[in-house]
Symmetry: D2
Subunit: 266 residues, 4 copies
């Protein structure tokens, strides 16, 4: 299986390279405006690299014309570019494997679905947290439970000053704290409890959000913050704590393996 | 001791952060046009970060006016920017601790010396290889030896395709293979054998250089290459091999500690 | 007719805006990494503007989904991006009107033709010099003439030092003097005399090219240069001079009008 | 007199080139991250051009060391960079001639004054509106008048959609409408009526500001807007209209001539 990767110099790219390598895939081309991509040497030294998207596009298009198919495009770019890069993947007849969130505005999701149909390819999202051992335990517990649950989520992921001066701190580019960091816990909650029926934001600023999400059979009190001294990612369900601070190793690889078999994550 | 750092998103920056932390220094400000600097969280989460040099300059200037001295500026930018960033350091009344090479053209070295005198501050170069255990053994051996030596250097540092499409592969920006990678071995040779008297380049292309350097008491045959499957950094002196492939851990820290005491490296 | 424009901050963009306005077209969206596009106010103040290609792509894609067709994409980007931007145009179901040269390498032309067929849209090139009064006179003269002709072209277009430090002076990006400036005279010669049978380059450097082009019924001696004090664009045919230094006003508009009727330029 | 210029590809740069040329100055070096600077050919084709500030810095520093003085640095960069670029000018022993506003925050002005003293050079601001014929008439009228005045300012400068997506529409970079466009009228009012004693903002949004400025002997009602179909820059003083929509030609040149004689503008 042939891969291309968008956003090779960023924080999350090495996890994708690791995943591609682990499942026996081949990374053929990578692009990033920033050229600090020495990490490629550890995984795919023969990978073509581009600092300009147009040249990357030309290379991928040439492969397509020569019948050398790129099967998947892994997308690790800043959030606000995700959907444009997914469209690129579909246009060169590849599937997209995209970091969360896929889009920053709902209506852009419709556009992605339309183009999925047009091109008969798929956009997969990396929902690796669902593969975490504690997530699996929780899911099984929640699925069995008949009555309502009381859930509290404490999600503190301290970030230094740099965060606010990177694209992650720019609401236009990251969507803000909830789409950039909160997305992990929201995905888990949606998976566990189904659709959200009520959103109550009590407090919000650039450093944190506090509020409640109402689901059919549970209300979840949430404290999401990047301010603090130590990481803490804990889901308390009916008094029992499920910790998501550790054991992330290998989840990207697992997720990629599943998606690359054209299966949904869960 | 207060530090500022230029080039925070690059490959070598974490070694400088590690070094600054280890010697009890404080990193106050960092700059890089690229904002993938999450690594700061592991060392100096309170460090101010800027993606534009002008804003970094304003911040440093403000500190200077308020009497909060920046003692050292660590410079990890692409090679061709080193001297401009050294000048910046001196202008804000700091010393510079700069990655090799300091300049790409000799005459720019004169300019640095002039401004060192003008500002009464110093530009230090990180010559960490001289602190490598094998370098120290070699130096002691060479210093004791009376007659001439026969030296061969095999310096193979494989790099993937990306290298040629990054600033490192751009002669205007890196100075080419000899100034970007060869600088390590040239520094060691100069330290061991004194000034060069003869340069004979036999073969050169973007991927490698072969040739001979003549010193007063030895001729060194050199094979420098980024093409190959495995790393190999070996100095053969009179038949004995000195390996520089491993044991680099901590050298940046040692070098920084020495420089920060305003002492020369060796 | 709706237009989008790529490269709005560059030198040639105002001529395209003028042309679009003159033929009653509407410029809906424009993109350029540089935001010095105040010129838009003189032509299309309601035009959406983007500094990032991905956002421009999203906007165009949204229009396409809503059935608001973009009929033409005018392409004024640096030469090496032309074919990638033409592909973009075709992918959003628009025709491309592209500055010369379309590509820097022949084989990329094949790729464009393939995708023209796939998408059933066309890539037009702005060959405005063919509409110059002197070009028309020359064409009529040459078409009537039976015997061989003696032709000399003196094409001196002085450029300052900046030229070498812009993308125009970068062979990778402009293709060099012949594809960036020479393209004008080569296009005219091909149009007048048919296919080239012989190329003889006598002298070439970053500032000029001298040589001869052999056609079926004529040999053309060429002096192309950006070094000099005054502009001079003269075709001498059998002793008579045809001047192309002036009278360019309106040619972009004429060319755009013709192309927008889906007609070939000549 | 030798000049260097920062921001050569921007909207206002040609006025500075024109001014430098007119007063017999020589533009030696120019810098802009964007390379669309063909305009240089019309004024100073021999001018060195750089797309990276560090290289420009190296060039200027080299001149300084060789005793080729740069007398003035003209600054046409985005507003938020003005003070950093002024500092650069002073550090290379040149005076700065800077577009308004000099700074976006008051305290940065103190820093500039300190460094002016340190380096014994000056930062001049281009206050060209004070040289407008109607400004001069108004000034003379106001200076003679004993009683209070009733003043209304209607300053409508329509801008297209692009404005909001350029640095000018970014409050962090331009300071917003009042510092980017309003600065012209505020400068005039301060010059005419002295220090402001009261600020009353009635209405403000990204497209306009309405309010009143109270001076010692007059209250000025202001309507500043970039929304509208036609430009209108009118000061109504005691019922008489003074129009500032036209007759700007040559004011930059006049201002530069005066400043280059080390005289204050008025």
């Amino acid at each position: 299986m042939n891969f291309a990767l968008i956003g090779a110099a960023g924080y999350i790219a090495p996890k994708h390279m690791e995943a591609i390598k682990s499942i026996g895939g081949n990374l053929i081309a990578a692009v990033d405006p920033h050229d600090s991509v020495g990490i490629l040497d550890s995984y795919f030294p023969k990978c073509s690299f581009f600092t300009e998207f147009e040249r990357f596009d030309r290379f991928c298009e040439k492969l397509r014309r020569n019948g050398e198919r790129i099967d998947y495009v892994s997308i690790c770019s800043p959030n606000y570019l995700h959907d444009a890069h997914c469209r690129f993947a579909l246009r060169i007849d590849a599937n997209a494997i995209c970091e969360k969130p896929l889009v920053l505005k709902n209506k852009n999701l419709d556009a992605l679905e339309d183009i999925e149909r047009e091109r008969n390819k798929r956009v997969y999202s990396i929902l690796q947290l669902r593969l975490h051992p504690n997530a699996i335990r929780l899911k099984s517990l929640v699925d069995k439970r008949k009555g309502t649950s009381i859930v509290r989520v404490e999600y503190v992921a301290p970030r230094g000053l740099w965060y606010n001066y990177s694209w992650k701190g720019n609401v236009e580019k990251s969507g803000g704290l909830t789409t950039n960091i909160g997305i992990h816990l929201f995905d888990l909650l949606l998976w566990l409890f189904g659709p959200v029926r009520l959103v109550d934001v009590r407090e919000t600023n650039g450093q944190g959000v506090k509020g409640t999400l109402g689901f059919y059979k549970t209300a979840v009190s949430i404290n999401l913050s990047i301010d603090g001294d130590t990481s803490s990612r804990v889901f308390s369900v009916n008094g029992e704590d499920y910790d998501f601070t550790k054991n992330f190793t290998g989840l990207h690889t697992k997720a990629t393996r599943i998606l690359s078999m054209d299966m949904d994550l869960v």
